[in-house]
């Protein structure tokens, strides 16, 4: 088992994506390896132009809740999702896109952010990553 964190990013909710990216960049910063496996609604966030488009998992209130939380996050100077993703890549993090989700949702490679994705895979890829990880999470 190596010192690695593997996270399944299943949710496309803004707050959950923050949790996944903060943990993943944190793990890299503490000297671990990290892999993010984007599937279902999470993968939708890697479609060009949709990164910030997720709703709030609770109290979304037709967008008012999200707007309020974003304002508070800006006031607290929380990093953008884009910055966290760029940091994740710069620190050597790996991003895997789920091929089955692409099929189900009709997402083509051209629709996705090719600048971020290292690999396209299925469950075997996740299991292989997870079995060599000391931290694995489903978000």
């Amino acid at each position: 088992m190596t010192d690695k964190a593997t996270i399944v990013v299943h949710s496309g909710d803004m707050d959950k994506l923050y949790s996944a990216l903060i943990i993943a960049t944190g793990a890299l910063s503490m000297g671990m390896d990290a892999s993010l496996y984007f599937t279902f609604w999470g993968l939708e966030r890697l479609v060009k132009g949709k990164l910030e488009g997720g709703r709030l998992s609770r109290m979304h209130l037709f967008g008012i809740g999200k707007w309020m939380v974003r304002r508070r996050m800006q006031a607290a100077r929380v990093a953008s999702l884009e910055k966290l993703l760029q940091d994740f890549k710069e620190l050597g993090g790996k991003i895997i896109a789920c091929e089955m989700t692409m099929q189900i949702m009709g997402i083509k490679k051209d629709d996705l952010r090719a600048d971020l994705i290292d690999e396209y895979g299925a469950v075997g890829t996740y299991v292989q990553e997870a079995r060599e990880s000391s931290i694995t999470l489903f978000i």
Binding site: I22, T25, G26, S29, M30, M32, R77, A79, L91
Partner: protein, 73 residues
């Protein structure tokens, strides 16, 4: 032997930790990396990261809300 300074005053989780790691990756052996910040948890967590990375914490200073961490690469 260079002195690399990283200013993360006003930044919150996980930016101080991430910027520290980014600076350390770019530094060469013999360099000193100095991080200045205000995020309270990072003052504890950056030394934890240094331990995990096997790097030397040279000094921690505090002046009010501002802390300054010096790292030997």
């Amino acid at each position: 032997m260079a002195d690399i300074k990283v200013d993360v005053r006003g930044e919150t989780c996980p930016v101080p930790l991430v910027e520290t790691r980014k600076a350390l990756r770019k530094a060469s052996p013999g360099d000193t990396v100095e991080i200045v910040g205000t995020h309270p948890a990072s003052k504890k967590e950056i030394p934890m990261a240094l331990k995990a990375l096997g790097l030397k914490l040279k000094d921690i200073e505090e002046d009010g809300d501002v802390w300054r961490i010096k790292i030997g690469v």
